[in-house]
Amino acid sequence: MAIALRDVVKRYTDRDGTSIAAVDGLTLDVPDGVCLGLLGPNGAGKSTTMRLLTAQSLPDEGTIDVLGHEVPREAKQARALMGVVPQTDNLDEELTVRQNLEVFARLYRVPRAGLREAVGRALEVAHLTGRAETRVVNLSGGMRRRLLVARGLVHSPRLVLLDEPTVGLDPQVRADLWGLIAGLRASGVTVLMSTHYIEEAERLADTCALMSHGKVIADGSPAELIASHAGEHVEEHEGSPERLAEIEGLARRAGLPTRRTGPTVSVLRAEHIPSSLADTLADGGSNGHRILHRPANLEDVFVMLTGETVD
């Protein structure tokens, strides 16, 4: 197992003395060679979990094992074997792309003889070879993010922690980074990726852990999670508030879960809607009532389980 957390608790104290558990009894296993997506809304405890794994946060309770090293006691050893791509852009802006990588190659103890090769490989992975001598301050947002990934890979780690790797990026740059992460996953590196983008988790993760209020509330492959909690299809109804309330009531009486998102009500497990009910639900073609059929997704699962939205 690359990562094993058992009953981990991390509490913070507010200014007024109130104790808040950012991570609250978290138990999580990440097997070797797997890309696990840690999915949850802001404040679910994803970033705190990442900091606990690098011992930048110390747990109040529970045990943490990373690549066979007990953290925080052997955190230095664990950190030597993992790469971290933070959510915050903390690159050295005054240095060039190459200098940033060289500094971190040293911090990761890359031997002097292999330093040039390691930096070259990281530049190549991040498609930044042509920008090696550019100062970071002159890079675009997407290039900076790719450099953050390259910096986390410069020592060829066995485990990579990606904390919200594409947050705030435009779709083109996000797709670009997804390609990079997919390549990493294909190379057999274990990846723990926190995200609040459903699509990101669905595309990249072999398995997902849904986090809410500091603990994992469900885990499994995206397909398993969707199948077990949201079914195959979703029927989305858009219409007047009265009509939507009526649909919610009808669906629930038939034992079908629903979720409300803004002006729509989604009936999950739509494949199980009895034909008699299907007619009733569809019978509202007037007053702007529209019905959309779509496959169920992880967001449906998440909203089902927590009542919260993630994106």
Binding site: Q77, A80, N90, E93, Q99, E102, L107
Partner: protein, 262 residues
């Protein structure tokens, strides 16, 4: 060779070298402006006090006033070129740039970061602080052979004040709060160190304060290195600077750990 995870020790030089590599890269870019400021400021002090006051005073404590000030300004330069980067650079990197969060995700511990930052500042400051001696040479200073020990004194003093800066960067609530440190702590230290006038003329309480002022011990050591050592007294001065640096090391590491690890 044993695997890296077995070779890692509680204190490693690799992180220190990593910090130095970063600083050297930056220094190569900014050496001209950085050197200009570090050289011109003590030169102005020397010209203003040495020749301005020097024309009025003549001799102080058995030295030509220009020689007295020339050696005193070395300590002033050490103070400012070490405490300021210790305070501001560390604060900015921790709070705004989050540089230390990136470094601490690598196999690096807080005390190694502090060692890297403080040692770079100490060496750079220690070297630059010798500039007033060179300027004073041009104005007739005739030092003894002990002058070659001046960089050792300035590096040791700068290490203490760099660590002082790192520590204070962890206790101020905002970057503006450094004004309290500069005006309330550094300025008094600078004034009661025997830099521009001997402390013998000060009231008793100020003389006592001077003796616990690390800068005073630096001034004394620099003067003695240039004009002749007083072995027993100088051992005491070295001891005071070592104690100061050790105390600041403990406070700086503890402060940084409190700020960076939650």
């Amino acid at each position: 060779m044993r695997p890296l995870t077995e070779r890692l020790r509680a204190f490693e030089w690799a992180p220190v070298r990593g910090v130095w590599r970063r600083e050297l890269a930056l220094f190569r870019r900014y050496w001209a402006s950085s050197s200009f400021a570090s050289l011109i400021e003590p030169t102005i002090w020397l010209l203003a006090f040495g020749f301005g006051f020097g024309a009025l005073v003549g001799h102080v404590a058995g030295y030509r006033y220009v020689d007295f000030v020339g050696t005193g300004v070395v300590a002033t330069a050490t103070l400012f070129t070490s405490a300021f980067p210790g305070m501001f650079n560390t604060y900015i990197r921790r709070t705004y740039q989050h540089s230390y969060d990136a470094v601490l995700a690598a196999p690096v511990d807080v005390h190694e970061v502090v060692a890297g930052e403080a040692s770079w500042i100490a060496v750079k400051s220690g070297v630059y602080s010798c500039a007033p001696i060179l300027v004073a040479l041009a104005f007739g200073l005739r030092p003894g052979v002990g002058v070659i020990a001046v960089p050792v004194v300035t590096v040791l003093t700068a290490a203490g004040f760099a660590l002082f800066g790192v520590w204070t960067s962890t206790i101020v609530p905002s970057i503006n709060s450094f004004d309290y440190i500069i005006s309330g702590v550094l300025a008094p230290l600078f004034l009661v160190a025997g830099t521009f006038f001997p402390i013998g003329g000060l009231p008793g309480w100020a003389q006592t304060l001077a003796h616990v002022n690390p800068l005073y011990h630096c001034v004394e050591l620099v003067r003695h290195a240039v004009f002749g050592f007083h072995p027993l007294a100088d051992l005491g001065h070295v001891g005071a600077l070592v104690v100061f640096a050790a105390l600041m090391w403990l406070l700086a590491v503890r402060g940084m750990r409190r700020r960076l690890i939650d």
